[in-house]
């Protein structure tokens, strides 16, 4: 895998740069953020953007820039946790369904059942039942996005399973588990990686939705969604409160989508041919 091949894809380069920027900000928030994101200052309530508070202040007088910088942490962490959970369970379910015909119907009909609901609505329902917290938000999003990933994995496994090297591996006496992991899954990774990039983007968006309607991580912990939720009541007087996290979400999600597109183009040349 040559880095040059990836950089040849413009969407990969731009996407990776955007994601790297947000990641860098999240990692260095403590140092970079000019103020304490939780410190109230009622004298600065709904203060407009200026030289000191670049992105203005919210309804408690907290510095919006610092809140967005810190908020990126939890938003990214939730996105990453969802990706890990969806990656593990989606791959497990999809791989079993694609490889073992007997398991296919039971697993995939269950996934179809979950897919009957739009993922965000499903996540809201689960989060509402479990109660608002960071962990519950992650669980809800993982459940909501696992079925689609399982479907992608299953499709990839169905294709790879037909390869001659899989039959050859069976012919040397390798067990099903060995064949599935070492030969089938290892050769199905490209679409799975691409899918998980998109899940990352979707999870960050959906986290914002959950926080916005109050079933996500509890305030005052800043996440992109929490900040927007705080700001929605003052949209007319202080639009900057929602603006900054909104733009941050947009940049991150665009970055992740571009990254996913770029990865897909590079990892799967066949798809690229079909698209062009």
């Amino acid at each position: 895998m040559k880095l040059r091949r990836y950089l040849a894809s413009r969407s990969f380069t731009v996407g990776a740069a955007l994601v790297a920027l947000v990641l860098l900000v999240a990692l260095t928030a403590d140092v970079v953020a000019p103020f304490d994101p939780l410190k109230n200052n009622y004298r600065l309530r709904l203060g407009a953007p200026g030289a000191v508070h670049w992105f203005g202040n919210d309804s408690y007088g907290r510095d919006v820039l610092s809140r967005v910088l810190h908020g990126s942490r939890l938003s990214l962490a939730i996105g990453a946790a969802v990706v890990v959970l969806v990656g593990v369970f989606g791959t497990l379910i999809g791989a079993l369904a694609g490889y073992f015909e007997r398991a296919d119907n039971v697993l995939m009909r269950t996934m179809d059942g979950l897919m009957a609901f739009p993922p965000v609505v499903l996540a809201i329902a689960i989060a509402a039942v479990l109660g608002p917290s960071t962990v519950n938000c992650i669980v809800a999003l993982a459940v909501a996005y696992t079925p689609r990933t399982a479907r992608v994995v299953r499709a990839a496994v169905l294709v790879t399973r037909q390869s001659e090297f899989v039959e050859a591996a069976r012919a040397i006496g390798a067990s099903h588990a060995r064949v599935l992991v070492r030969h089938v899954l290892a050769n199905s990774m490209a679409p799975i990686i691409v899918q998980l990039t998109f899940v990352f983007a979707l999870a960050i968006l959906a986290e914002a939705v959950l926080s916005f309607i109050g079933v996500g991580p509890r305030p005052p912990t800043p996440t992109f969604g929490n900040i927007i939720a705080d700001g929605r009541n003052y949209l007319a007087e202080a639009p900057w409160i929602c603006m900054a996290p909104g733009v941050a979400i947009m940049l991150l999600v665009i970055g992740l989508n571009l990254l996913g597109d770029g990865l897909r183009d590079t990892l799967d040349p066949r798809l690229r041919l079909e698209l062009k």
């Binding site: 015909e101 390869s163 001659e164 090297f165 039959e167 050859a168 591996a169 069976r170 012919a171 040397i172 006496g173 390798a174 067990s175 060995r178 070492r182 030969h183 290892a186 050769n187």
Partner: protein, 338 residues
């Protein structure tokens, strides 16, 4: 037969389909002696590969062995569990495939792949298995064997990859090698090298080989004995010399007749009229009858059993390994008349 490594008796492989059950292998019996190269010859769809997969226990669902016995070195394979088959596959029966380009995992190095059966069956450590893999690559005459251990499949040519496949198949020193069209995807000079390699390894290791091919040239070059298959049945069985010198079944004759003769000037290549019948609409009697130039009324009524070619008496179980048999009523009639 006195000394048989693998014996297949009345094997029937069935695939249930929407339009009824089809049987790509329908009553096949044969035996392989230790150290013998037996060629299974036939057109695409004649059931050669299905026979091999049935022996390996690798039939894909919904295909299954409907009837018959497969006995390998005293072990019955047809009714063995998947776990018990796994202990035999790769350890005691090796297999190589038609497409060396796609039979290797593109993500693993050659060394890892040759080492895999050793790790699966012998529980060797990674280092020990790799060391043995280097020896195996040397055995299959891979130039610079030890150096190439860490190369990936895409860095090898087709012929070299087939050598790797042979090394994998022979890693655990099996008694039987099933070679399913091992040279079909290779060009002619490489084909010759690979057949030579299989032949020399077979002699050196005392290996029995089931060589599946549609190419009569391969049969002539590499096999001791040949079975001719047509539509899931064996139509002729003889030593290779006999098959080429005195083909008895009309299908075998037609096949040999369609091989172009380089010495004679011919305007057109000879072909066999008609097509191989579809498995769901087989003729009731002899399956070759609709295409046979010598067919009689009887051929369309009943399916001929294998007759002994030498004396035309229907072969019993006392047949010897060297016998020449063919499934054609005409042989029976010839014997009666003559």
């Amino acid at each position: 037969m006195t000394d048989t490594l693998l014996s297949v008796e009345d094997l029937v492989v069935a695939f249930p389909t929407a339009g009824g059950t089809v049987r790509p292998v329908d009553g096949v019996s044969f035996g392989i002696a230790p150290g013998e190269v037996l060629a299974l010859v036939g057109e695409s769809g004649s059931g050669k590969s299905m026979t091999a997969l049935a022996i390996m226990g690798l039939l894909t669902r919904p295909g299954r062995i409907e009837r018959g016995r497969i006995v390998f070195d005293g072990l019955s394979l047809a009714d063995r569990s998947e776990a018990a088959m796994r202990a035999i596959r790769g350890a005691r029966i090796g297999m190589i495939f038609q497409e060396p380009m796609s039979s290797l995992n593109p993500l693993l190095t050659i060394g890892e792949q040759v080492a895999e059966p050793l790790r699966v069956h012998r529980g060797l450590s990674r280092a020990a298995a790799l060391a043995r893999a280097a020896e195996l690559l040397k055995l299959v005459e891979m130039p610079g064997a030890a150096r190439r251990l860490h190369d990936y499949p895409h860095q090898f040519s087709g012929g070299m990859r087939q050598r790797v496949m042979i090394a994998i198949a022979l890693a655990c020193e099996p008694q039987l090698l099933i070679a399913d069209e091992p040279t079909t995807a290779l060009d002619v000079t490489i084909q010759d090298q690979i057949l030579g390699l299989i032949r020399s390894l077979q002699r050196r290791m005392g290996l029995a080989v089931l060589l599946i091919t549609h190419d009569l040239g391969v049969v002539a070059q590499a096999a001791d004995r040949a079975l001719v298959m047509y539509c899931g049945r064996i139509v002729e069985e003889a030593t290779v010399a006999e098959v080429f010198a005195r083909p008895a079944h009309p299908y075998t004759r037609a096949l040999l007749g369609s091989v172009p003769d380089l010495a004679a000037r011919t305007e057109r290549l000879r072909t066999i009229d008609g097509q191989v019948p579809a498995l769901d609409s087989l003729p009731p009697g002899c399956r070759f009858a609709p295409r046979c130039a010598m067919r009689e009324a009887a051929c369309e009524r009943a399916s001929p059993p294998l007759f002994d070619v030498a004396d035309g008496v229907r072969a019993g179980t006392a047949a010897t390994a060297a016998c020449h048999r063919a499934a054609c009523f005409r042989l029976h009639d010839e014997a009666r008349v003559g």
